[in-house]
Every structure is written in structure tokens, then in C-alpha cells.
Symmetry: C2
Subunit: 241 residues, 2 copies
């Protein structure tokens, strides 16, 4: 449905709006991924539950997903944000059939869905694309390493700003759906903690929000508030890809 809709609007998928897929020409994409499919993913949708078989990789276009660590008591906390700059399913290229993490959709939107076998086959047949995916895996690897430091050493405000910036980078426009409750879970803090910070950001004109809609009104200001982790991760990605 979405597929045919897009067909008429774009040049028969010559644009994927995903940084990794864009490294392939349209004929290469068609050849490597005969079963590729554009799907719509809804907010809160669980794309992969822990230990669920990794049958597909997803290359986000306009959606944003999160890699979530789930603890025994059910507590969830975000480990990584994945959007149009990357892919869900790095473990597939590392020969895993499943993973302990959970993948949840943060911000609804579209993503390209590719069967795991086709992805693995593509790694074999196309060395250039294989290289791109490996470098993305490396970027994600170092993102997680930065996250361990960030979660331990930075304040809610800093991490909140970081999260807003990296989500803003991945969505269209300046407004997206986001509740304090949800952000609190992602950051691993209490909801009132986020509310307090959010109010302060709004009072300072950096963001504006109302009942589940967040708008970034001053990116530059947020960058000043954010911890260095935002820039560190972005720059490392830029160096690699």
C-alpha cells in the first residue's frame, strides 16, 4: 500500500532517505534486495522483543527506533537511538540469530524492511556495501561505549538535551510526539525529573511542548546545554560514514 503510494510520488524508489541504503545505486538495491519493502512503523511498536528471531533488518526513513536494555525487574532504558542514519539489525551482520535487547519504535514513520538472508547475502556479494555496514556497526559500538560514560556521569538536563538533539536529527521538521513519561524511561530517570528539566528548557525558549507534542525551538541553545556525547557520537559517525 505504502509501496504503491510511494511509487507514484518518487522516482520509483530511487531515493531511500536512508543514509546506508543510499550508498547503493537503485539497480544495486533492486538486485541485492529483491524482497525489500517499505513499511510504516507505529509509535511504541515493538519491532523486536528480547531473544526474538532476527528475521529482518530495518533501514529507517522517517521513523526513529531505540535499542532498549530490559532488566529482570522489567525496567527499560535506552542504549541507542537508530534512525535514517543507520539500521536495526546490526547483530545480523555479526552472525547472531537473536539478541537480548529489545527494539522499540520511538517516533512513528517509514522504514525499509529487508530479510536477514538477503542482507547477509548482500554482505557477501557487495564488498563496498559490506564495508558501509561494518563501519556503521563500529559507529554504533562506540556510541554504546560513550553511552556508558554518559549515563554514569552526566546530569538529566544534559542527557535530555542530547536525546532531543539526536532525535531532532532523525525526524522531519521540528515537532514530534513525545511525553515526559516516555523520555524518562529512555533516560532511566523518574518522570518528574524530566518534567522539571523540560519546563526549564521551555522557560528558556529552547523547546516548546504541550500534551505529548515536543517542538525544538532553539537547536543551538540545546547544543549548549547538552553533554559532549551528542557531538562525540555524531562526529565519530561522520568520520566513519
Amino acid at each position: 500500500m505504502i509501496e504503491s503510494h510511494m511509487e507514484t510520488q518518487t522516482q520509483t524508489h530511487s531515493q531511500t532517505r536512508n543514509a546506508l541504503l543510499e550508498r547503493l545505486s537503485e539497480p544495486e538495491r533492486r538486485a541485492l534486495f529483491p524482497s525489500i519493502e517499505l513499511v510504516e512503523i507505529s509509535p511504541k511498536e515493538v519491532v523486536y522483543a528480547p531473544r526474538q528471531a532476527l528475521k529482518y533488518a530495518y533501514f529507517p526513513e522517517t521513523c526513529v527506533m531505540s535499542k532498549i536494555t530490559v532488566l529482570e525487574d522489567g525496567t527499560e532504558i535506552e542504549a541507542a537511538t537508530i534512525g535514517n542514519e543507520g539500521m536495526v539489525g546490526v547483530p545480523i551482520i555479526l552472525a547472531a540469530i537473536d539478541m537480548p535487547s529489545k527494539i522499540v519504535c520511538q517516533i512513528g514513520g517509514t522504514a525499509w524492511k529487508v530479510p536477514a538472508e538477503e542482507l547477509m547475502q548482500a554482505m557477501e556479494t557487495n564488498p563496498e556495501f559490506s564495508l558501509v555496514l561494518k563501519k556503521y556497526a563500529q559507529a554504533l559500538f562506540e556510541l554504546l561505549a560513550q553511552g556508558t560514560a554518559c549515563n554514569r556521569l552526566h546530569t538529566i538536563e544534559q542527557r535530555c538535551a542530547r536525546w532531543l538533539l539526536s532525535t531532532h536529527d532523525r525526524v522531519e521538521g521540528d515537532t514530534f510526539s513525545l511525553t515526559h513519561e516516555f523520555l524518562a524511561t529512555m533516560l532511566g530517570v523518574r518522570r518528574p525529573g524530566v518534567s522539571l528539566v523540560a519546563k526549564s528548557l521551555q522557560d528558556n525558549g529552547l523547546v516548546s511542548y504541550k500534551h505529548g507534542r515536543m517542538t525544538i525551538t532553539n537547536r543551538h541553545g540545546l547544543e549548549g546545554i547538552s553533554c559532549e556525547c551528542y557531538a562525540a557520537v555524531r562526529d565519530n559517525y561522520g568520520r566513519l560514514i
Copy 2:
């Protein structure tokens, strides 16, 4: 020097005491890694500074290394522990020429040193070994994801116990060199915080220490104190390798 010493003691290196290298037969190892070398690494030695060219991979035998995230203000904090179960240099197999993290030796000992080119070549020529390294990369990947949650949500005591257990797994015997100061840096906390916890562990007979020497006296007890992250990471490694 170490090389010739070992030659006389072991069956000409038929035993590597590294879980990953052990997946190769001795002839395979000789063929794949003509330049492999057993080296001694000293405590506190910086094996890789941030952004230093990744010329060698290291497969620890008796040493224990740490992947460290370095922040702009110079603060350091451990992201992962690497010992005889794994390797230093996963980014090499992900086509990186360097990385933002730092690699430091925690506990001195021996490691097998392999030129990056030989490792990359081995990935090409030996699919089974390539698979093992990919799976280890995946294990490390999920270890970092667990670490983001752990650093945010678990107490000093829990993380302290986790660290002691995972180091204990990687060294010979129950005693190793470790100061509170050093452990505090690894965990990203103050030194008195560690001293307090350490004293409590000692009072409860779980460990015993004096002036830079730590002895694990009750592993089982430590496992009870530790957060779930120790077991989660260990089990995930076990499933993969």
C-alpha cells in the same frame, strides 16, 4: 624471550589460553598468523590511546584489559572488560582504522599480538574463525548495551561486585593487584565510595585486601551482591561462543 621461555614449557604453543584463538588448530594458527607473538603487558600500560592507529589485535591470556571512554575533561570510565575470553581490536574486523576509546591494561600478564592485516586476512580465508570473531563482537556489543543500563541504575556496591567477578573470571588464582582508586575510576565513582563498599565486602568475608592486593574469598557471596548484569553478560557470551 617470553616466546622461547614458553616454547620449553608448553607444547610449542599448542595451548593459547585464549578462548577465541583456541577455536583454531595449531597448524591453522601458524598459517593464518605468521607474525603472531606472545607479549607481556604491564599494569596501567596504554595499549591504545584514543584515535591511535589500530595496527595490532591482542588476544589476552593472563592479562586483563579495559576499553575506556575518555571525556573532554579527562575523566575516564570503563566501558568493557576484555580478557582471555575475547580480544582487543574488534573495530579492526569492523573496518575501522582507529577508535575514540582507549585501551588500558588492568591486570598485567600475557597476550597474543597479531598484526591487523593478518587478522583481516584471516577473516577472509577462514569462515569458521570469522564467525567466531563476529560472534564475539556481538557479545561485546550487547555487553556495552547492558553497561549503559548498569551504569545508570545499579549501586556502587552492585557494580563493584560485578567488576570483581568478571575480573576474577579472567585472572589466574583468587588474588590480583587492585587499588580502590583504580576501581573507582573504572566504575566512574569517587574513591571513598569504593573504600566504603570494599570495607563492607571485607567485613562480610567476601573479599580480603591490603594495600593494592585484592583477594576474592567468597565468589558465591559476591554473586549474590552483584547486579544481574554479571550473569546476563556471561550467559549471552556463553550462548554465542
